[in-house]
């Protein structure tokens, strides 16, 4: 009888330890907050472009802190929305020769609604946003497309900004990623500001 009891308890204890260890969570693989990702594109080629002299930050950010500092080469940026407002504005300063002045800066303002949302045990809770409108100046920005207006913690590009820039195309490089993906620049432009 003692043997049976020992076997039953041992099997239960070992299996419990194994299962409890095997069921541990793997951590949050997405963001812990809703951060819309905005990608930079060339209006001329519809290709994603790498900008090396773009300076970007939030309008009214404490300490004039920046999201992109001068000298960084970036093709995308995360845009943190404000919690205590339904609008958040960002400025884009172009530190390129000839346009490196504040008069040429562009300002993009996002209007949105927010609601609390629970992502998962690992990623926690955050505000989920729904973009209701985009307003922007057009110094170098040609258009802005909102690919998905619902902003969750899933790490994917939601916004595309198309610049009026010229870039040297390499031979045979006329088919960019967008065309390969089948995306249509016309559709992107159709979801522009104010919608």
């Amino acid at each position: 009888m003692r043997g049976r009891l020992f076997i039953a308890v041992a099997v239960g204890a070992v299996s419990g330890a194994v299962l409890s260890g095997g069921c541990n969570t793997q951590g949050c693989t997405d963001n812990r907050s809703a951060l819309p990702m905005m990608g930079f594109y060339s209006m001329a080629t519809q290709n994603q472009v790498m900008l090396d002299s773009l300076v970007m930050g939030g309008v009214g950010a404490p300490g004039d802190s920046l999201l992109i500092e001068k000298g960084e080469s970036r093709a995308w940026v995360y845009l943190p929305f404000r919690y205590d407002s339904d609008k958040t504005s960002f400025f884009l300063h172009y530190a390129y020769p000839g346009i490196d002045n504040e008069e040429m800066d562009d300002v993009v303002t996002f209007s949105y609604s927010s609601e609390p949302y629970f992502a998962s045990e690992e990623c926690g809770a955050y505000y989920r946003y729904r973009i209701t409108g985009v307003e922007y100046t057009r110094h170098l920005i040609d258009s802005i497309a909102v690919v998905d207006s619902v902003i969750t913690n899933v790490d994917m590009e939601r916004i595309r900004v198309f610049f009026r820039i010229s870039e040297e195309e390499e031979p045979g490089d006329d088919e960019g990623d967008l065309n390969e993906d089948g995306s249509d620049a016309g559709d992107a432009g159709g979801e522009e500001a104010g919608q």
């Binding site: 299996s15 950010a61 919690y83 205590d84 629970f118 045990e121 926690g124 809770a125 505000y127």
Partner: protein, 304 residues
């Protein structure tokens, strides 16, 4: 008189000595073919577990197809009852209503010791049919109040009942009923409310903080569990059972503000494997209808 005795002894010696030497001188060993057949000199029950090769016994088939063995010495005839097709040979030696049992699942309390943050206790009731088919009803209470150390919320589910119904199949139904090795299926259902409170957000960039509660949500979930387990009697009517369960949701109502990570009865929505560890009290309902002794007695009666 002495002379007479001496004469008799001398005659006896004279008669014995020539006979002895005569046999010894004529001794020959010849091969002998037994007239009694192949069984001569063979002990087929020498080892424990040996059995006689009945095909070598004298027998014939009667008009019903039964094998009739013939005792060639006594002249009696015996029908081979082991091959009689009576149609009553039981596939399951235990009766239909063999036993009932109630159990308590202490898996969740034990797992809480190992760091699990949910679950309370679970009870089960079952009816053992032929020690083979075991319909089961499971009822439990689930709850959680969990604030992860490295996260920004408190997840709460008040004490909530849940139910499961299903059946086990005991693979060793004709063996010692003190042991069971079984597979089973469960259908579970739970309807519960959950709260995500004290959500704390902090934006380093904007230097803002926000604190809010996610509105209470009501959710109903149905799910399936496939399980494999063992059970061992440990003391009188008390047994201990352990099983491992694969779980999958069948239906879950939509949640406007995010799905719950804990579902009473189902457990954490992460992972597909869980288990249970139960203490079971068995209530016998009926003794065996057919025992091994009865089977032997039937054979004996037939043999007579």
């Amino acid at each position: 008189m002495k002379v007479f005795v001496r004469i008799v002894c001398a005659l006896a010696v004279l008669l014995m000595v020539p006979g002895y030497f005569g046999v010894s001188a004529q001794r020959r060993v010849n091969p002998v073919k037994s007239a009694s057949g192949e069984l001569q000199g063979k002990n087929e029950n020498r080892q424990e577990g040996d059995s006689i090769d009945f095909s070598k016994l004298a027998h014939y088939h009667d008009d019903k197809g039964n094998v009739v063995y013939v005792d060639t010495v006594a002249g009696t005839e015996v029908v081979d009852s082991t091959n009689l097709n009576t149609g009553k040979i039981p596939k399951m030696i235990q009766p239909l209503f063999y036993a009932a049992a109630v159990g308590v699942d202490v898996w969740d309390p034990l797992m809480r010791v190992f760091g699990q943050h949910y679950g309370l206790v679970e009870f089960s009731a079952e009816l053992n049919l032929h020690n083979r088919y075991v319909p089961v009803v499971e009822f439990g209470l689930g709850a959680t109040d969990y604030t992860p150390q490295d996260n920004n919320y408190t997840f709460k589910v008040p004490v909530t009942p849940y139910f499961r119904i299903g059946c086990n199949y005991n693979f060793i139904y004709n063996s010692n009923p003190d042991y069971m090795a079984f597979a089973g299926l469960r259908f579970g259902w739970s309807r519960f409310g959950y709260d995500i409170d004290d959500v704390r957000l902090n934006s380093d960039y904007w230097d803002e903080t926000a604190t809010f509660n996610v509105p209470r949500q009501i959710c109903s979930v149905s799910y399936l569990q496939v399980l494999f387990g063992i059970r061992v009697k440990v003391l009188g009517p008390v047994s201990m059972g352990w099983n491992i369960r694969y779980k999958a949701k069948l239906h879950e109502s939509k949640a406007a503000y995010g799905e719950p990570w804990y579902i009473p009865g189902y457990g954490s929505r992460n992972g597909a494997i869980t288990g249970s560890f139960s203490i079971i009290y068995t209530i016998p309902l009926k003794k065996k209808e057919i025992s091994n002794n009865n089977l032997i007695e039937e054979d004996d009666s037939t043999m007579q």
